[in-house]
């Protein structure tokens, strides 16, 4: 009789410890995938923005050949949040455009935060080469 009771207590104990262990493992897996998801999200937002700025019909004639709408963007007449439908994409994003001849930053958007990745392209605009950088 004593053995039976002992067996029951031990089985309950083992189930309880296993339960705690499963919770811990699940939490670790959740954290792992959450980090990976955030990384992928930042990556895809960065790719979208750099391709949008250099390849979209609104801002360029052909790939990396920027048109006059781009000059409105740099002058401040055109707001970048007006031409992107999903404004949430612009949270935590920094965009820098630099003139390669004078080394002067001609456009800046967003604030510097904990950025995951940097995407840069050198493009032709208004007779010169400029560097477009998206930090996500």
């Amino acid at each position: 009789m004593l053995i039976k009771k002992l067996e029951l207590v031990i089985i309950i104990l083992v189930i309880f410890i296993t339960f705690l262990y499963i919770i811990q493992v699940t939490e670790n897996i959740y954290i792992f995938y959450k980090e990976k998801y955030q990384f992928l999200e930042r990556f895809l937002i960065g790719r979208f923005l750099i391709k949008f700025l250099t390849e979209s019909d609104i801002l360029s004639y052909t790939i990396c050949n920027l048109n006059e709408n781009f000059s409105y963007l740099i002058n401040g007449n055109l707001n970048i949040s007006d031409i992107i439908n999903n404004v949430e994409l612009l949270n935590n994003v920094r965009i820098e455009i630099e003139d390669l001849e004078t080394r002067e930053k001609i456009f800046e958007f967003g604030v510097i935060k904990r950025n995951f990745m940097t995407f840069s392209r050198v493009c032709y605009y208004n007779g010169k080469l400029i560097k477009i950088q998206v930090l996500t």
Binding site: I3, L6, E7, I10, V14, T18, Y21, I22, V25, N28, I29, F32, Y33, K36, L40, F43, R47, I50, T54, E55, T62, I63, C64, N65, L100, F119, S120, R121, V122, C123, Y124, G127, K128, L129, K131
Partner: protein, 113 residues
């Protein structure tokens, strides 16, 4: 007494099996993100077609300055001769590109890590 020994063996086996089972839950995440650097370099090199380049030296300077803005480790060869970057055997990916100046075709060969 016999059942007592069996009970202990049973518990040890159960715990060992459970730990084996749970420790083998390794989260897997494999996404190949390679290739976007090549895309950016091609897009940047295309912008060379919109500016006027008259000599080979000018082309070399432009290609090297463009790559210097985008990458830290690269090597550039034009028509087989070393132009700029760091020469190493660790380069695994290569980009081929060409440019025509005064009827001469210049083959640009870029190595990436």
């Amino acid at each position: 007494m016999k059942s007592n020994v069996l009970l202990i063996i049973e518990i040890i086996l159960t715990i060992a099996f459970l730990f084996f089972l749970l420790n083998n839950i390794i989260p897997r995440f494999e996404v190949n993100l390679e290739g976007f650097i090549e895309e950016d370099i091609y897009a940047s090199l295309i912008s060379l077609n919109y500016i006027e380049i008259s000599s080979k030296v000018e082309l070399e300077n432009k290609v090297c300055s463009i790559l210097n803005e985008i990458l830290s480790d690269y090597v550039v060869y034009i028509n087989g001769s070393f132009i700029c970057g760091i020469e190493s055997e660790e380069y695994t990916r290569f980009i081929k590109f060409f440019y025509i100046i005064n009827g001469d075709v210049l083959y640009i060969y870029i190595g990436l890590k």
